[in-house]
Symmetry: C2
Subunit: 334 residues, 2 copies
DNA sequence: ATGAAAGCGCTAACAC
DNA sequence: GTGTTAGCGCTTTCAT
């Protein structure tokens, strides 16, 4: 910078980072030049000189067994790649999908040393007590996928479950006749006793709220079941008799689609969540009408970007980073 | 890099940029180390040393009078801001929405000197002859918003009009009864004689194709009109009698929504394009059911990012950068 | 064919 | 309180 015009680089530096030790006159002189010439610091040179390193911990379920967790990981890796030149390095802690494994990984994270943490708080209680200890490190924490309300100093990049259930309600209701019969089919999954289950519950609540608010006079009927239909036997086709639309609040809507396919059930609308491969397959086959999701890759991506910005002190203050809710049909999937 | 392990920085540099002047032995030695240690060049240091500047020309209609053009400009500015530290500077050429102004601006661009160009080829013929001359500069060109087929060495970041019309067909047809009556209402606009008009034509074609392919047996009826309904008088409410759904292939769907509002026409589905303020207003009021768009900010953003990557030779080779087609309803607008 | 050295813009340690 | 200086990793020029 044009320090030549006035003083030395040292002084300018002290002023810019207001480390004090400068005469008011000088600080004014330099400020004037800054304003006049519209000086902006060269981030690259700065980073080069600082040679800063950021080490973030990523705490997620193993994604080689559960497709659902691949997407956020992809986003995380993409962000990591983009940010390596900024000195960002990730340390992964993957756990098997059970509470013991979660707790064990948590232990390791506590003894390790990082500049930030992103985690999916699958096991609510375990996550809570882990985070309480972790918070003493005074290092930013970003929750992903499902929230853990009531913790302060914890950021959230994830879905708005109630809102997406509400949207599902809208799409389901759109074009249905009055007195149509809707079935909410909550298929059991490994998430049954986890924090993810709250996501499904909130979606269902959102779904119901939509009809309560908008179609109250339409005499909709809502069933709810926890049946599993991975094997045909568990559910009888009769369950779907007289039903006009089925809403599956978790990612298992493809089971229903397959069931329809096998039993030649057509003309029942089918709405679900998440772009899992199998869901896409039935979307393409036009067995599923709508899939709703909040780009999970983007959640992972944003979480890492957020941590970086936070550390590089490029402001970034909001507590919740919203991810748009997207509507996917066969015709706009790509 | 670990040149210390072998030779001097100079030699390493020559190898990395293969400028020759190196013994095969050395090039092998260094290559080995590169592979082993997974060396990746520090882009920031590189840029610092190179002190490179990129100047891109942005050639768009004035957006202070036409809301439609604000969005891509926003995206462009966002990208510009992110890339200033990479030495990117933009030069804007805005023109009034007429061919003369377009041609005049084009002249200026031809005499100026840039490292890349992004433009909206509103006036097809004028744009064509301009681009033919511009291509001699041998500098990358990115088309935005509407394509100009048949030009080579020209990239496109924009919408897929046929596909989005097709999607509009799907959403319109979803939930309609057989024998429903659909009106395609093409409202006249300033774009009538421009390349943008092709966008609308292609959307309509996509819309029709959807019904041809999927609902042929449903006995849909399609009307088409070029009426303007900015003043009430032009269109009579009777036009909408017996109509179940209206599709407006351009961004003027809010005129229809307002017309419905004024004439208390309800229970006619309304589908359109673009998230203009006024369209959003009627989406919120539930007068418009669906709005389809391909994030125009993202188009602008991607265009600039593309140019930068192209120049910084970070590969980037595809000719068409796809922008997802998004479905917006009241419940997922934010 | 290769090495040495200056400089890109900024930071931080040190000397005055 | 202020100036000087080395060095971040890379490019480029100039000797050798």
């Amino acid at each position: 910078m044009a320090e030549l015009a006035q003083v030395s680089v040292g002084t300018v530096d002290r002023i810019i980072h207001n480390r004090g030790q400068v005469t008011p006159e000088n600080i004014e002189k330099v400020q004037a030049i800054i304003n006049e010439y519209g000086y902006v610091k060269n981030v690259m040179a700065s980073n080069l000189a600082l040679n800063k390193k950021y080490r973030f911990a990523v705490f997620l379920p193993k994604s080689d067994t559960i497709e659902y967790w691949k997407a956020p990981l992809n986003g995380i890796q993409k962000a990591a790649q983009e940010l390596t030149i900024m000195g960002v390095a990730l340390e992964y802690y993957f756990f098997d999908f059970n509470e013991d494994a979660f707790v064990q990984a948590a232990q390791q994270i506590l003894i390790a040393d990082h500049d930030g943490l992103v985690l999916a708080p699958i096991f609510q209680e375990a996550a809570r007590s882990f985070l309480e200890k972790y918070q003493e490190k005074n290092t930013p924490i970003v929750l992903i996928d499902s929230n853990l309300p009531g913790l302060k100093n914890v950021f959230y990049v994830g879905q708005d479950s109630h809102k997406s259930g509400y949207l599902a309600g809208k799409l389901t209701g759109y074009g249905l006749q009055p007195n149509a019969h809707i079935l909410i089919l909550k298929l059991k999954s490994i998430n049954e006793n986890t924090n993810r289950n709250n996501v499904f519950i909130q979606r269902i609540q959102g779904f119901r709220d939509y009809f309560k608010e908008k179609k109250a006079n339409h005499n909709f009927t809502l069933f709810e079941t926890n049946s599993i239909i991975e094997s045909k036997e568990v559910v009888a086709p009769s369950l779907f008799e007289g039903i006009d639309a089925v809403y599956v609040p978790n990612s298992r809507v493809h089971f229903v689609a397959r069931f329809f396919e096998q039993h030649h059930i057509t003309s029942v609308k089918l709405i679900g969540h998440e772009l899992l491969k199998e869901n896409i397959e039935y979307l393409q086959k036009e067995r599923i009408d709508f899939l709703i999701h909040q780009k999970p890759e983007e959640q992972g991506y944003s979480a890492i970007q957020f941590l970086y910005k936070k550390k590089a002190s490029q402001e970034e203050n909001k507590e919740v980073i919203p991810i748009p809710i997207e509507i996917i049909v066969k015709e706009n999937y790509y």
